[in-house]
């Protein structure tokens, strides 16, 4: 009983890693960039892997008319995500604490997990939309305008997950420490649910 509660608390607390570690990372390498430029995506904003990477990514992106990488104030997500993550962590800890002292049903833990999963998927969907917008909403006065074989403007959207070639650049888009901690944390809450369910069953 207590074990599941502790796991629930621990799992929820691991979400807080997102305040310190990047959730995602996109790297852009090219012949001229043997050391790829990279951006770390945090829940509260985007930072360059190296100090001037954002400025330099914006610099090369201006040739194809891409917008600049948004500052935290320019996207509502960077205000809302931290609140959601903090809220979910608090909620999880609260459920865990209740589970520690009282006999609450295991379904609360599962409920938390499902809510987190839905929120996470919504976040991914939103992130993908942003990438799509970033890669397709181009300045009509762009210096370099390329079209595909059917005459449509090329889509410069970096992949949501994986590696993809975009003109001379190869974009690598993968989760980072914050995301891994979140995955581990969520898994722990699932384990907590399962243990609790079994424990409650035997009690009956």
């Amino acid at each position: 009983m207590k074990r599941s509660a502790i796991l629930m608390i621990l799992g929820s607390l691991l979400l807080l890693g997102l305040f310190y570690f990047p959730l995602w990372n996109i790297q852009l390498g090219a012949p001229q960039y043997p050391d790829p430029m990279g951006m770390d995506i945090f829940i509260s904003g985007i930072e360059g892997e190296e100090e001037f990477d954002i400025q330099n990514i914006d610099g090369v992106n201006h040739y194809i008319g891409m917008k600049k990488i948004p500052k935290p104030a320019e996207m509502w997500e960077f205000q809302v995500f931290p609140i959601v993550i903090a809220g979910m962590a608090i909620l999880g800890v609260l459920l865990g604490a209740l589970g520690f002292f009282k006999k609450i049903s295991a379904s609360w833990f599962l409920g938390w997990f499902i809510l987190m999963l839905v929120l996470g998927l919504l976040g991914m969907y939103d992130f993908n939309n942003w990438l799509l917008d970033y890669g397709t909403d181009l300045d009509p006065k762009a210096i370099i305008k390329l079209t595909d074989s059917e005459g449509n403007p090329i889509n410069y959207k970096p992949p949501l997950f994986g590696t993809q070639k975009i003109l001379n650049f190869t974009a690598h888009s993968y989760p980072r420490t914050g995301a891994y901690l979140m995955f581990i944390g969520m898994s722990l809450t699932l384990v907590a649910w399962w243990i609790r369910k079994k424990a409650l069953k035997t009690l009956k």
Partner: protein
């Protein structure tokens, strides 16, 4: 007549020596040749194992090579104007070449030496001397740029320079030409006994900054080369001399009459203490000290008016002369600090002095008279050994880490390997042709790195495809890790490399700067973003605050400049990305272009001669839109009332 027969004898001897050596080169083919190729092959994209810094001689600069590939990596402008990047032309750097003789646009760089800590090269800075208008420069090994140049007053022909002591306490300068001290108008033929040969000790601070500590007032000989003591002999400095005859004319003959000249052993620690305790007397001097200030990216030039003169006769035990045969040239100290090698350039022998024997001789007062009041030690008393008939015309010696020495022979055109302690010759290899200095990484330190040696040759002749009468000098790379030296590579160099210095690449490559930080740019005329760009008129001077970023200038249209104006283009490169310089060139400029590294501001002046609309452009192929990186300046006739107006993309500001 006697002289002529001597010369015939010398050349006959040379013929004997060279004929002994003409059998090696043709023999290396097949398997041997391919192994040499493998040893110098650095695959595309791979880095060399060593940085080698070769003096540029009469180019006034310092060139950077990779070893073992022999690929030239960079030319660092030091004592000469360098239109390639604007050094010595730009407002920021032109004062680096300021001297007490005014702006001197050219120099003769000779002996690079890397800073040391505990007798080992540490890769903080590299120093190099200028022979013609005596100066020493310090170059940063983070930026690979010249940071400081100090003029040496009362010196003429700063040749026995710029060697550093074991902890970079001092970098030294000597005078190759003895001169009146201080300078004065007097008959040349009254030189003897009246000219002097001051040796200058320049203290180096922890930040690298140089300051003249004292000048030793030495007899008027020619101080040719020098090296510091190390280990036990740390605290001493050794200088070779020639023309102890003090002849003032036809010196090739008249300065070659004494059987022995001297190596001056200078106990600088003793003199340094003497000076610290208030010894010495200040004398008038005029010299210029130029420091490149990274903060403002501008040269701060100071003229100084006095120097501390020390009479060595006032300090017992400060200076001794060791007689050394045949006009010694190179003065080299082995890694242990025990042996001081005098390379008697008109001889076939090498004279090796022993430091410990020297100390004994001093203690036992084994003197053989004095020269102008400075004790001359008995020749036999300090002699450790002689390397007999090693070659003809020895010039310089370097050392490996296995107790071997390598000496260059100019006349017999070869490098000879011999053993310290036994003085026996163990190998000889021809050089192509007439080698001057040679260099082993760390060869002037406690810890030489006995892997490669390069010989820096004075005569090139047929080594490469002919390029008319004027040829670049040539260097040869040898593998010295085995018993025999193995010639690996022949490569052309730039200017006339005299000495060189090398360091393991790992020791410095991580420190190499990639960009200058824009947020640390405190240049007076910097525009750190496009909104700060402007034109400011002060009388007939117009200051243009301009920026560059891929791929445009801001502003790129300028009006309101008139014939008779002096336009200062202060160009700031806004990039903060590695290897994205921008250039700036404007039609008819009587200066040079600018090459501006990311985060830097550089200034060039332009005095338009004719009304019209004149273009300027970026000279460095910075991006796909490099060709479009251009702009126009409208120049109106003198007295016209075209208002000042500047802008980018048809958004103008005016005043």
């Amino acid at each position: 007549m006697k002289t002529i027969t001597n010369f015939i004898a010398v050349f006959a001897l040379a013929a004997i020596f060279t004929s002994c050596n003409q059998n090696d080169e043709g023999g290396k083919s097949g398997a041997m040749a391919s192994s040499a190729a493998e040893k110098v092959y650095v695959s595309p994209g791979e880095h060399d194992e060593y940085y080698a810094f070769l003096s540029g001689g009469y180019s006034g600069n310092l060139t950077v090579y990779g070893l073992p590939s022999g690929r030239m990596l960079k030319e660092i402008p030091v004592f000469s104007q360098f239109p390639t990047n604007g050094y010595g032309y730009s407002e920021e750097t032109k004062d680096m070449l300021k001297t007490s003789f005014g702006m001197v646009p050219w120099g003769d760089s000779h002996h690079p030496d890397i800073s040391q800590t505990n007798g080992e090269i540490d890769g903080r800075w590299i120093f190099i001397n200028e022979n013609n208008t005596p100066r020493i420069a310090r170059i940063s090994l983070e930026t690979f740029e010249t940071e400081e140049i100090i003029e040496i007053p009362h010196s003429a022909g700063n040749h026995s320079s710029s060697y550093v002591t074991e902890n970079t306490e001092y970098v030294v300068a000597g005078t190759r030409f003895s001169v009146p001290y201080p300078q004065k108008d007097m008959p040349i033929d009254e030189m003897k006994g009246n000219f002097r040969g001051p040796l200058t000790f320049i203290a180096v601070g922890d930040d690298g900054h140089m300051e003249i500590d004292f000048q030793i007032d030495m007899p008027g000989f020619n101080y040719d080369l020098s090296h510091p003591g190390r280990g036990e002999s740390h605290g001493w400095f050794f200088f070779t001399t020639y023309n102890t005859e003090e002849s003032h004319t036809m010196q090739e003959v008249n300065a070659s009459q004494n059987d022995k000249d001297f190596i001056a052993a200078v106990n600088w620690k003793k003199i340094s203490e003497y000076v610290e305790n208030g010894g010495g007397e200040t004398m008038d001097a005029e010299y210029v000290h130029n420091v490149f200030d990274h903060d403002t990216q501008t040269t701060i030039s100071t003229t100084k008016n006095e120097v501390l003169r020390v009479d060595p006769r006032d300090i017992p035990g400060a200076v001794y002369f060791m007689p050394t045969p045949k006009s010694p040239h190179g003065c080299d100290v082995d890694p242990s600090g025990e042996y001081i090698i005098g390379n008697g350039k008109l001889s076939s022998d090498l004279t090796v002095h022993s430091f410990s024997k020297m100390l004994d001789a001093i203690e036992n007062e084994e003197f053989d008279g004095d020269a102008y009041g400075i004790p001359v030690l008995n020749f036999e008393s300090t002699l450790a050994g002689t390397v007999k008939e090693a070659g003809l015309g020895p010039l310089h010696t370097e050392f490996d880490d296995k107790g071997n020495a390598y000496t260059t022979f100019f006349i017999s055109s070869e490098v000879v390997k011999w053993k310290l302690d036994t003085w026996e010759v163990v190998d000889r290899q021809p050089s192509y042709y007439s080698v001057g200095h040679l260099m082993i990484s760390g060869g002037n330190s406690r810890k030489p790195d006995g892997k490669y040696m390069i010989s820096l040759n004075k005569i090139t002749k047929d080594r490469y495809l002919p390029t008319g009468p004027e040829l670049e000098h040539s260097a040869q790379l040898f593998d010295i890790s085995g018993d025999k030296m193995e010639l690996l590579l022949d490569f052309p160099t730039h200017g006339e490399p005299h000495y060189a210095a090398a360091i393991k690449a790992d020791k410095i490559k991580e420190n190499s700067k990639k960009i200058y930080r824009l947020d640390e740019n405190n240049h007076k005329y910097a525009a750190v973003n496009e909104s700060e760009t402007k034109m400011v008129r002060e009388g007939n001077e117009v200051h243009v605050y301009m920026t560059t970023v891929r791929s445009h200038f801001a502003p790129d249209n300028l009006e309101g400049i008139h014939v008779g104006d002096k336009v200062y283009f202060h160009v700031t490169n806004l990039e903060q990305d590695f290897d994205v310089p921008h250039g700036f060139a404007v039609i008819g400029a009587n200066t040079s272009e600018l090459l501006i590294m990311p985060g830097q501001t550089k200034t060039i002046t332009w005095e338009p001669k004719k009304p019209g609309v004149w273009p300027f452009y970026c000279t460095d192929f910075c991006s796909a839109l490099h060709q479009e990186m251009q702009g126009y300046i409208r120049v109106s006739a003198e007295g016209a009332n075209t208002p000042m107006k500047w802008g980018l993309d048809d958004e103008y500001t005016s005043n």
